[in-house]
């Protein structure tokens, strides 16, 4: 998935991403923080402005789009790129996972995989920045951060692959 980035001197930055229907989404981020979102139906067409958002609103909408408020049915890997090679990864803990019932300290996740666990989601509850003595239960969702390879080995580690 290619994101085209270009500088708009005096204005800000422009990012373009191809949508599935062949059109292109163009996001202009102004230096002032305002975001303008356009859609360009085809190469020759003009960009049509869809809407604009203030800085605060843009972050909020972005968070919703990102899936932080609601994670739809999992269709496989959900990968969120933080920049460079750093990824956020959500992994479910199944009943037969080596982590189920153990504390984070016992499983030594960081040493084993290189990924760091940021949070443990349990139903409605979220334990942020869990310590070594936090017990992981079956049915939890673990949020890990780290280099892509580390997160992949973390996912395999949890699923006992």
């Amino acid at each position: 998935m290619t994101v085209y980035e270009s500088d708009l001197p005096g204005v800000g930055k422009k990012h373009e991403i191809d949508l599935d229907d062949g059109s292109r989404l163009v996001v202009v981020t102004h230096n002032t923080g305002k975001r303008e979102v356009f859609r360009r139906a085809s190469e020759d067409a003009d960009s049509e402005k869809l809407f604009e958002l203030s800085d605060q609103l843009a972050r909020q909408v972005g968070t919703i789009l990102e899936g932080a408020y609601f994670q739809p049915v999992r269709t496989g890997n959900i990968e969120t790129l933080l920049g460079g090679n750093t990824v956020l990864e959500w992994v479910d803990v199944a009943a037969d996972s080596p982590l189920a019932g153990a504390t984070l300290g016992e499983t030594n996740v960081r040493q084993e995989t290189g990924a760091t666990i940021l949070a443990v989601q349990r139903g409605e509850e979220t334990i942020v920045n869990p310590g070594g003595e936090t017990v992981v239960e079956a049915g939890d969702t673990l949020l890990a951060v780290g280099p892509r390879e580390a997160c992949r080995s973390f996912a395999s580690f949890v699923r006992d692959e």
Partner: protein, 399 residues
Amino acid sequence: MAADLLALGELFAVVAVAGAVGLRLGLSVIPLYVLGGTVAGEFVLGRVGLPYVSSGEAITLLAELGIVLLLFFLGLEFSLDRLLAARSRITRAGLLDLGVNFPVGVGIGLALGWSAVEALLLGGIVYVSSSAIVTKSLIDLGWIANPEAEPILGTLVFEDLFMAAYLAFVSSLVLGGESVEATLGNVAVAFAFLGALFLLVQFGTGLFQGALDVSSPEAFVLRVLGVTVPVAGAALALGVSEAVAAFFVGMGFASTEHRERIERQLTSVRDVFGAVFFFWIGLSTDPLQVVGAVVPLALAVALTTPTKLVSGYYSGRTYDLSPQRSVRVGVGLVARGEFSLVIAALAAGGTGAVMRETIPALAVGYVLAMSVLGTLLMTQSDRIETLVLRRGAGSADSS
């Protein structure tokens, strides 16, 4: 003191009204500020016998600050890395723009029997497009999200860079006076001062970074001014273009981490003094003199509009844009504005009637005309595209 304060108050009142009008009608405020100054000044209100705003020392000084801040912000946006990254395309488009438009202005000046320096001034005035007006129109029309935005903005970046060199050179000529030695001496001093400043900017990023490492917004703003204004003032005292000095200071801060913060916290300051500058230009303009200069004015408008269209079209083609979008690049660059007025202000400080009166009056008329024409052409761009392309297709068929 009281008279000065009142004059300043009238200035801000007029500028506020002009801004409101611009907002209402969706027009760029720059020409409105200039018009406001002309109307409120001695040549319009004064002639009718009504109390007018006189251009005193106070307003002139604040206008000077406006020039400094306008150019400072330009330098802030200017990134040598960005220029180098896209250098071949920007250079090609920029040189096209320069090579087509600048000589036409110089030619008009020489044809009118002006001196070389006066012709050079006119060349600069008609060559440089208004970054402020063009960028605003790009955003208003949504073109900012289209491919044609890149060559347009790229050309503006090239023009900025050329303007820095041009202003440095021409201001030495203008302020230099009559004798060749004095002028050469001035040019030497200018390049020495600016050269040293440029080296400082390129290699002293740490200094610029450290100077602004403070969290208090008040201290931050004061420090930015505390660096920019003294440098500009020192430049002016040495007979060097204070505008270029401010540009380089802006460049110095551009590569620090403070760039966005400077933009956020100082934009209002720049806008206030920028408005004073445009008003002040209008104040010094006699509409009768503009009318008196109508022949060169009409000539300039008639000749330098198609030149921008042509240079813009071929610039678009060097960016691999379709003919349709390339026409847009030309249309987008027609508007002239703040930079031409800065050159006019420079000319007003020169010698001889042409420099001091004709050129500034011409420049104001020219900017008013071209800002309107430029924005108009952009909104009518669809018609122009069909017109140009149909004719182009017609001539291709017949050949």
